[in-house]
Subunit: 430 residues, 2 copies
Amino acid sequence: MKILLKNGTILTMAGSEPEIIEGDLGIEDESIAYVGDTPGDFIPDKIIDASKKIIMPGLVNAHTHIAMSLMRHYADDLPFWEWLNDRILPMEEKLTPDDVYTGSLLSIAEMIRSGTTTFADMYFFMDAVAEAVAETGIRANISRGLVFNEAADLKKLDIGVKLFHDWHKKAGGRIHVDLAPHAPYTCGPEYLEHVRKSAEELGAHIHTHLSESRKEIETIYSLYNSSPIAYMEKLGMFRQKTFAAHCVYVSFDDIRILADYDVSVVNNPGSNFKLGNGFAPIPRFLNAGVNVALGTDGPASNNNLNVFEEMNLAALVNKAVHEDSTVVPAYTALQMATINGARALGREDEIGSLEAGKKADIILVDGGKPHFYPNFNPVPALVYAGQSADVDTVICNGRLLMEQGTLCTMNEDDVLAKAEKTSHRLALSS
Amino acid sequence: MKILLKNGTILTMAGSEPEIIEGDLGIEDESIAYVGDTPGDFIPDKIIDASKKIIMPGLVNAHTHIAMSLMRHYADDLPFWEWLNDRILPMEEKLTPDDVYTGSLLSIAEMIRSGTTTFADMYFFMDAVAEAVAETGIRANISRGLVFNEAADLKKLDIGVKLFHDWHKKAGGRIHVDLAPHAPYTCGPEYLEHVRKSAEELGAHIHTHLSESRKEIETIYSLYNSSPIAYMEKLGMFRQKTFAAHCVYVSFDDIRILADYDVSVVNNPGSNFKLGNGFAPIPRFLNAGVNVALGTDGPASNNNLNVFEEMNLAALVNKAVHEDSTVVPAYTALQMATINGARALGREDEIGSLEAGKKADIILVDGGKPHFYPNFNPVPALVYAGQSADVDTVICNGRLLMEQGTLCTMNEDDVLAKAEKTSHRLALSS
């Protein structure tokens, strides 16, 4: 199957400075065949008119818990522990694998609509998430969240390892599986040592939460006289390739550790703000050479899966925190949402930029809306004025997932109706 | 003309707590006839199916400079003075009245699309803005920005006063005219006394900028040994009803002054963040009983006119600043964008909530998108998940300005093409 995206404004995200090419992009099967001028021997099966469209890499949501879409708009503006213990956990306890599948489909519909072609998910009943990914054509890194309860209880780790054997590099290579020790405050050192060993044996990457709240810092200091990041380093966790969500409360020593081990930080501004945690020091990470990606976190604490919004927040809010209108420029926010996300997930050779040979994970953004005018520069226009609804067409692994606003691989009405019914059942029985 | 909005989810914004009514809303000529059940004797000329739609008041953008849309996406991520002096002012100096008209139409197209039915504008060549408002059917408070250069030069004040005589309560009452002393650092005390007297004579309200940046605070202290807000109070400016943009750097004394004089604050989070100014203390204003509205500021420093985004920023970011997930709850953000905006502009008897007898400024938001599911509560859904593109239909003063995504009072293609041409001409000649 050959697809020609004709006559667009191509933002490749391939270099450290914006590269904008007015021209075509050719797709052959799963991959990008060329960027720029269409060769005479490229005979497309399908031509998509990309005039007035910005062609760019699909966005990477590098940290989320997608099935939690079932619990959003249900408990907001509450103190954190009341939100978690009284509202979210009682619903979560009722979840079945089928519910996780239903919530995953709802979230995948939203992600496709908003231009996300890859997400990194940590949750439970992950086979259901994998099935939803396999069916809908999106790309994902999935992992079973590992929370330790008793010394002998390694069952969840077994489930996580089984997930790796069952799904890693499956669904045409679209699915990767990571190991996901939930957080330093939910996993003791012995348990983490088991996780580390398993990850080493499997060659699995680590997806975790680190230094999200002041309370976490206090807890880990009181238990181990160490910051969460230094604690993980001492245990040798970072010898495995790691990407860590949040990293809000970090010292300069912590930042040095992240840089030394090439640990990727996944910034989740929407969730960090909504839960009242605070501001991760993004310019400091960037100055230290730390790779910073973007995530939405779970949609119950956001309340959406909109990476355009996270780009906007990252670019705007860091300027206010640092009282400097030059930090986190628009192109940096776009890098965070594309190539840096790919790098965090260990997939930068496959995705994250538009280059011949990479997988065809591509979105077309409608630059014809009033907020894109005047057409001086698509980079600030996307970050400071764009919104996820501007995404017109989405391609993942060479396959159309949305064309001109219509989802191609899902029956959206059915997905929404089933999610609505499921959520209300969970809420009533909580 | 009678319009029936049938079978929607009506968020009235009429009280201090959310009031949600499942039902109908009737419009007769310019006004809301009823909210809830359709009386038997109401025979509509037009019925709009509002099922799966949230019916709510049109949004109020209480501080902007709309013609600056011509200069957006042109100069971003620069130090403030470089941005202003080297990029924006050279373009601004070239503006003609016709350019201001062109930029105004571009911005009005974007505002209608994003659910704004009223805006407060301060700029120059304001007759051109007024013409654009009159033609397109939107509602506005307009004012000539008054910057003082020489003691004898009261010409701009004359222009501002003439604007009042020419346009106040014109265009079927949709246009109000305010007097707009630009800021304490651009208007000396004698000039402000002239402005104050004119406002008193006319019964005009005051629209101004206050306490936007650290530099402004330093300047006003060095000149007058006073905060900008205390300086304006001493001059008696606040005896006229005033709404003031920004108020980022304020003391507790400043907040008391604002509360005592019922000065409305227009919070512009997007612009304050993008220009690296910082965070206005919104929860402190609210606790002190200060009326807080929302604005985008000019689109060159935002870069859009999207009040949904400002609601989202206000609700999210204040929680992070104060490390408290309960401050600026979603309903408060919605109040800021509707009834508080109406109050700031002195129009709370006309607009800002859906109540029988008020003007029919109404938007229908499409609650059928995935991010609105599950349908537990439209209030957090609108603020934390919604986006401006969810606005489906817009009514102002009883007239349809957009129906199902199509603008009714403008030729959008022509507006965009002319704005594009104008902006590039201005950039080339700068």
